[in-house]
Assembly symmetry: C2
Homo-oligomer: 202 residues x 2
DNA sequence: GTCTATATCGGGATAGAC
DNA sequence: GTCTATCCCGATATAGAC
């Protein structure tokens, strides 16, 4: 979205908030218009349908995810560092555009067939970036992953979940939560016990 | 649900399937009746409202989750073994009652206030079982977890995700996928590399 | 660019026959 | 226990005035 907050952008943001709160189908255009400070019919001056608004939210989100994760890892060569940067980006972005990412994650079902295909394609592109990092890590033997597809799905599922409960006013800053997740995914809950660390000292 | 497949049970199962496919609000009682082999109005002989069906699906699911996970771990004393059993149960149950668990996970928003409170309470009960295992593991120093709440959420989020993509006709049996997840959560993607294993041999 | 008024449709729920 | 018929409401989308 452009920097200047036009009415069109207000509708966009409020739609994401509303769709997250009530779900796409339970959200009404009257309710959305009300939040945007206009009447129901006026929405059609800015968007051609409710479906279009949903699609644009998802397209915006997927475009950002793909472009920005590539930016985040572009200067790294080490797979471990790439993964750290990618995970951290994923979690942080999901807490910045919380509403948009939530809707993108939860409302795939509500898309028309054509729109569905486009978004799924973008999602595959995004997931492949993570799979490729894991593959590299296996190749350098810095990682050991039996099943790349399962592991990348588990990773993204786990990280996306942060945005469901993250409270920006809470005690823990998001950077620290992201670091928790990185450590958890890299080392598990047993890999950093005293016994392992002692052994690694040798 | 009772063993005998009554019409009431058919409606219940078809509702879970339909709500998963289209979402609660996009599902119609006429469509549900059609799947159950009756006409729309006849549903009200078995259930008092659409909302009641949703609530019963969730109550059934949470009751099963709570009771069965306790059964699964009751003979174990070792926190690591408890966790293995609990994770395996969680994943396997989500692929048995896939539709019911999916709906329970995705349609909290669609519950009435009163029903919402009851289900959230049950979900907290369920999550506490996992948190307690992690706490025990920290106490015995078999695990090392900085943030129990974050870790348990990450775990459940990750495991629940299996049911979104698991294909019972695929190559991998669910028991093997569950084992992948257990290993991933316990050791991460780095904890089982050659370097660590060599160090642990000493 | 926003308003009001309205066309049109479909869904949840009920009533009463069989 | 299931059917048909229907009530009632609310939602998307459109038309035309300002």
């Amino acid at each position: 979205m452009p920097a200047i907050t036009s009415r069109k952008e207000i509708i966009f943001r409020e739609a994401a908030r509303l769709f997250k709160e009530k779900g796409y189908n339970s959200s009404t255009l009257r309710g959305l218009a009300n939040k945007a400070g206009i009447k129901g019919g006026s929405i059609y001056h800015h968007y051609s349908s409710k479906q279009e608004i949903l699609y644009l939210i998802m397209e915006y989100t997927m475009t950002n995810l793909i472009n920005r994760v590539q930016l985040a890892i572009k200067d790294e060569t080490d797979p471990l560092q790439k993964l750290r940067k990618a995970i951290t980006f994923h979690i942080e972005y999901h807490t910045i555009d919380t509403n948009e990412t939530y809707v993108t994650d939860a409302e795939l079902r509500s898309l028309d067939v054509e729109n569905y295909k486009k978004i799924v394609k973008m999602r595959n592109t995004y997931e492949k970036i993570y799979r490729d990092i894991l593959l590299e890590g296996n190749a350098t033997e810095q990682m050991r992953i039996d099943n790349i597809k399962t592991a990348s799905r588990a990773l993204l599922q786990m990280c996306t979940g942060v945005s469901y409960w993250f409270n920006p006013n809470g005690k823990q800053p998001i950077s620290q939560i992201a670091e928790n997740y990185v450590e958890l995914f890299l080392w598990g809950i047993c890999g950093k016990t005293g016994a392992v660390q002692a052994a690694l000292q040798n």
